[in-house]
Amino acid sequence: MDDPFQIIDEAGNKVGKAPRLKRETLLRMYRAIVSTRAFDDRCMKLQRTGKIGFSIPNRGIEATSVGGAAALDAATDWIAPHYRDFAMMFYHGISLEGMFDNMFGNCDDNAQGRQMPVHFSFLEPIKWMSISSPLGTQIPNAVGIADAMKLRKEKGIVLTTFGDGSTSTLGFHSGLNWAGVKKSPVVFLCQNNQWAISCPSEKQTMSESYAIKGEAYGIPGVMVDGNDVLAVYKVVSDAVKHARSGGGPTLIEAVTFRMGGHSTSDDPSRYVDAALFEKWEKRDPLTRFRKYLIDEGHLTDESAAAIETETADAMMAAAKVAEGKPRPKLGSIFSDVFEAMPKHLETQMEECISHFSDRDEAVNEKGEFPL
């Protein structure tokens, strides 16, 4: 495989032909990265102070998310995501309040606090398919969503994202093989952040890259610098065009690095060499893009700083609102299992509500998810 495709190099200098993007789009991309970092920081603090149970750090991989998200048309396209792509949500303007409602699992959470934090589900302003914890399962789901569009001769495509570890799952194989055969309008974006919790790529596959796996399925495989937001945008845009015009799927490997733990419950210093973090810190996607935008005259040090302050304040405010909301009602345990609640669930719900309204012993709500 060739070296990963690049437009902005590690020092933030333009080394390739930049895609034609409006200033407002470039700034929207920049803001999405800044927002992700601020959301990450806020969630980390909320978790460390025991206010939320869990979060997934996104630091380091944001350019891959934003570049991918910016290539989509929210009116027609769907995202079938994994759990480490917050910047896609910020780029498309998914409600910050809704995201925090999920983090707190409060009464306004779309899923009524049923899922762990970060397992988001939204219908607007873009179809953000509900996230599941088992890995790779969203890949064949994405192919099915895409095939439905194709059958109805719609213009939409599906972007599905997953990490390097997920390339070893059944879903990856089933999904890519199927999409190859059916020419499904889908883009497979593999966020190679080099770690599946603690498992490094050299223990994940003997293939020379993840992108090369596309060959086995008869679909193009492209490798891109995942910390270069414009390069990711260009490569995903090309794949989207290809899919939209009936050309079928593309596998994209965005090479990046997870600059933190797998989750708030993970300590990466146990298995990641500190020198690696130092090396990848120099390739930081935010610093790189900021320098590019300043060089191009779209941003100044002052306006960049203002965006950061404004974003951090917005996070703080939104988190406070979500924190202040009550938890979901007890009955929400029993709704949405089926469209209509069957008799046995009605009975169990009545028993549950009556038990907890009568009993004189509080429920022990302490305890943390161990992972």
């Binding site: 219908l123 399962t137 064949p140 789901n141 192919v143 099915g144 089926f338 008799k343």
Partner: protein, 320 residues
Amino acid sequence: MVQAINDGLRSIMKEDESVLVMGEDVGPKGGVFLATENLTKEFGEDRCFDTPLSEDGIIGVGIGMAMNGMKPVCEIQFQDFIFPAFDQIVSEAAKMRYRSGGQYTVPMTIRTPYGGGIRGGLYHSQSGEAYFAHTPGLKVVIPSTPYDAKGLLIASINDPDPVLFMEPKALYRAFRQEVPEGVYEVELSKTREVTPGGDVAVFCYGAMVPVCTEAAKRVKESRNKDVRVVDLRTLMPLDEESVLQAARDCGRVVIVHEAPRFCGYGAELSALIAEHAIETIEAPIKRVAGFDTPFPNTLENYYLPDARRVLDAIEEVLDF
């Protein structure tokens, strides 16, 4: 029954353009049991198509289609081969509505032939209904007659939630029954009283229904006792009221299934009756089931419950 299923698919496909049939060999070949015969010819490759040999793919892709406006009918060629798709069924299809607060739903039907009767050995004979009935968010339906097969299948396809539709392959060509033309539904979660009776209640489903009916006939002849054979038809959500009513009316209960006894569906029925109707029960609840072994090939007919084994169980509860 297999013709009724084929007719059911054809009828609903004619009426509803969002219904698709997909699976291994369901296209020009018409499926290994011919359940999908001529559907590709009649509706084209977009509506009835062959898929790669990937159960995980069939269900995983079907879920995506169902979330995006279609009503896929996915065929798993033998229920024994469903396990690569277990994750998609249990983790994704069954939980999608719950985990998204109803934003995303999966109105998908999974058709799959199950059970013994064709000398299929370990991997073409199993009855895995208990694995699935244990999964919140998934419906499990098993017909035992051609009329029910068509009506329950159409009701399953029109249901807003995922349904596992298990077809007793032993009954595919066992007997003939006239079925109405066009679309009709048999309501889910309603049992069917196969024979009236007040002496013993026998609960069963699928291929065990004719076996139990034969046993009931013999009990009538030998003991002049009336057995109420109840065909459950939907295992989840179960029509608990009619099960309890039959148990109370008869006071003696036998439960029959092909699947292994341990943690089988009969255990749930037995517990349900014990919890809610024990005061009316006059004899131990008796289960007739497959043994807790893998499904044997040559000795298949010693493994499968037959009318004689059911008859013995009925006599045992009558004599208690």
